[in-house]
């Protein structure tokens, strides 16, 4: 069985977000890039599945649609333990564009992992779009996954609870928190080995984006916090009713 893990390349979660002067482009100056947190957890789960006793997982491939600067992130995924990386050499114009690029080769895999969202543009889109393009099953908000023969047992979150499901392969699992406990950190040996692992670069196919970011804006700065003394705490509840009018 072959597993594909999609890898989003995103700014470190503590990055201070800046834009160019006319607010039409993200300013990537000085930004540290990381594997999108959910993709890192997905890769960790894929590794656990491969290492499990009696596992049928042969290979784990990671893929990204991005320019050469995302290769550091792909190398990190190889260092964590993926066997091979694929990069489609194109700007990730929008989710439909990215999914179209991935659809060229994702159909060769039995199990594909995507994250619930990329932490930069919060699209919530690529995984589901890719599944639809491939015509395969997908389950979203996946917080646990095990392989039992040709069936996959999946835990997912629903609004108001959680469920355990059985689904058949091929499957695209759109994962969230819980899919693995802690993301794996590359070990020294993994980092050395990553240098010799294959990183294939593909040229993009022709596709049109269906959405385009025109401008960015920063949130309105908040007015200063109104402080109330610890002993007057009751007063705050009255303020919420009479001043803020939210009670």
């Amino acid at each position: 069985m072959k597993i594909l893990v999609l890898i989003g390349n995103v700014p470190d979660t503590t990055t201070k977000i800046k834009f160019n002067a006319d607010k039409t482009a993200f300013d990537a100056n000085g930004v540290q890039w990381i594997i999108n947190p959910w993709d890192e957890l997905a890769l960790t789960r894929a590794m656990e599945l491969k290492e499990a006793p009696g596992s049928t997982v042969e290979t784990i491939v990671v893929a990204n649609v991005g320019r050469a600067e995302t290769e550091g992130t792909l190398r990190k995924a190889l260092a964590i333990g993926a066997d091979k990386a694929i990069r489609v050499d194109a700007d990730p114009l929008d989710a439909a564009y990215v999914a179209t690029q991935l659809a060229r080769f994702a159909g060769e895999f039995d199990l594909v992992f995507a994250g619930i969202e990329a932490s930069d543009y919060n699209g919530n889109a690529v995984g589901g779009m890719l599944a639809e393009m491939l015509g395969i099953n997908s389950v979203s908000a996946v917080s646990g996954l095990n392989i039992e023969g040709s069936q996959v047992i999946v835990n997912r979150e629903i609004d108001g609870g959680s469920q355990t499901l059985g689904v058949s392969l091929p499957l695209l699992a759109i994962v969230q928190k819980g899919i693995a406990k802690e993301p794996r950190i590359p070990a020294m040996r993994g980092i050395m080995m990553a240098r010799t692992k294959p990183l294939e670069v593909l040229q993009p196919v022709d596709a049109q984006p269906l959405t385009a970011i025109r401008t960015f804006e920063m949130p309105q700065p908040k007015a200063a916090c109104r402080k109330i003394g610890e002993d007057q705490a009751k007063e705050l509840i009255y303020l919420l009713r009479d001043e803020a009018k939210v009670l």
Binding site: I116, G160, Q163, L210
Partner: protein
């Protein structure tokens, strides 16, 4: 032509989020000068369905097939796509919740539509069609132009609100072409949280962080939440410790919420936490550290001990409720 909205139900009932979606869809429909059509799948009483007309929905399509209750995104996306095609929808609206997020991308591909998820309120303009959404998990917003003929949107809850606009509505049986093979998933077990306000549907959320010290200290926080009819949430370390369930974790790697009122008890206000709650209309912080970053995001704050403040809040809420 139409604006189509997919309305989920919970055991045959709608929630506030359903009516917010209906209000939102009819408002977009009005600006495009087309009717607002709602689609409901699974068993829902006619009296419940017709409530949508209070929020401007003039045509309500329903299919009571119980199989839709399995929340299978493939089956539902197929049915919604057929409804969009038969009503000539140029815009399809869904909730930005677990089900909406699962359906929308599949639906967008079927309709060759662009998708923008977690849209904040009404479109900035409809010609060109530009919507506003949160980016970088709350650190910025973007204005996004949708270039396709058909548009699919998921709406951030509480970003539009309710807007009553009573119209006369027809409730029609809708019969999408479905085959057994469309229903793929086999449900082995469902655990429903009962008697609790859904976090995504809550006007008020009461949240606790590591400053609460231990799982057993949550009783007063839960009491306050119950008195206010509020949902409960927590910071990430709290759910990692197992003090609270993972479903309550809010923030960058958890849920993003935007209630009218958010209480943060013993939460430091790390940037990854704020990403999930900064769109709340009013934030109240209680923290013993005067320099905790949560006070920069808060509207009201108390520098103090949660153990001293919580009982006073409970007492005051009891007073105003009586």
């Amino acid at each position: 032509m139409s604006v189509l909205v997919y309305i989920e139900n919970w055991d045959g009932k709608f929630k506030k989020i359903s009516f917010e979606l209906a209000s939102y869809a009819s408002s977009i429909a009005a600006s495009l000068n087309v009717p607002a059509v709602a689609l409901s799948l699974g068993k829902v009483d006619n009296s419940e369905l017709s409530k949508l007309s209070v929020y401007g929905i003039s045509r309500i399509l329903n299919n009571p097939d119980e199989r839709f209750n399995a929340l299978d995104n493939q089956a539902i996306a197929k049915a919604v796509a057929q409804a969009a095609q038969t009503t000539g929808a140029t815009c399809v609206v869904l909730a930005h919740n677990n089900l909406g997020k699962a359906i929308a991308p599949r639906l967008a591909v079927k309709l060759k539509a662009g998708l923008v998820s977690a849209v904040n309120g009404l479109p900035v303009s409809t010609e060109p069609f530009v919507v506003k959404k949160m980016l970088f998990t709350g650190k910025a917003f973007g204005h996004i132009e949708m270039l396709s003929a058909v548009k699919v949107l998921t709406l951030s809850s509480n970003s539009f609100g309710l807007a009553e606009k009573q119209v006369t509505a027809s409730v029609e049986f809708f019969d999408p072409e479905m085959v057994d093979a469309d229903f793929h998933i086999q449900i082995k077990q469902t655990n429903k949280v009962t008697g609790k306000v859904l976090l995504s549907d809550a006007d008020i959320v009461v949240s606790g962080g590591r400053g609460m010290k231990a799982a057993e200290n949550w009783a007063p926080l839960e009491e306050l939440a119950a008195l206010l009819g509020a949902g409960t949430s927590c910071s990430r370390p709290v759910s990692d410790e197992g003090w609270r369930p993972h479903s309550e974790h809010v923030g960058q790697t958890g849920k993003i919420i935007a209630p009218n009122l958010y209480f943060a008890f013993g939460i430091s206000g790390a940037i990854q936490h704020l990403g999930g709650v900064s769109s709340s209309k009013v934030i109240v912080a209680v923290n013993k550290d005067p320099d905790a970053p949560i006070f920069e995001a808060a509207d009201y704050g108390i520098v103090g001990d949660v153990a001293k403040v919580l009982p006073q809040f409970i007492e005051a809420v009891k007073e105003i409720k009586s």
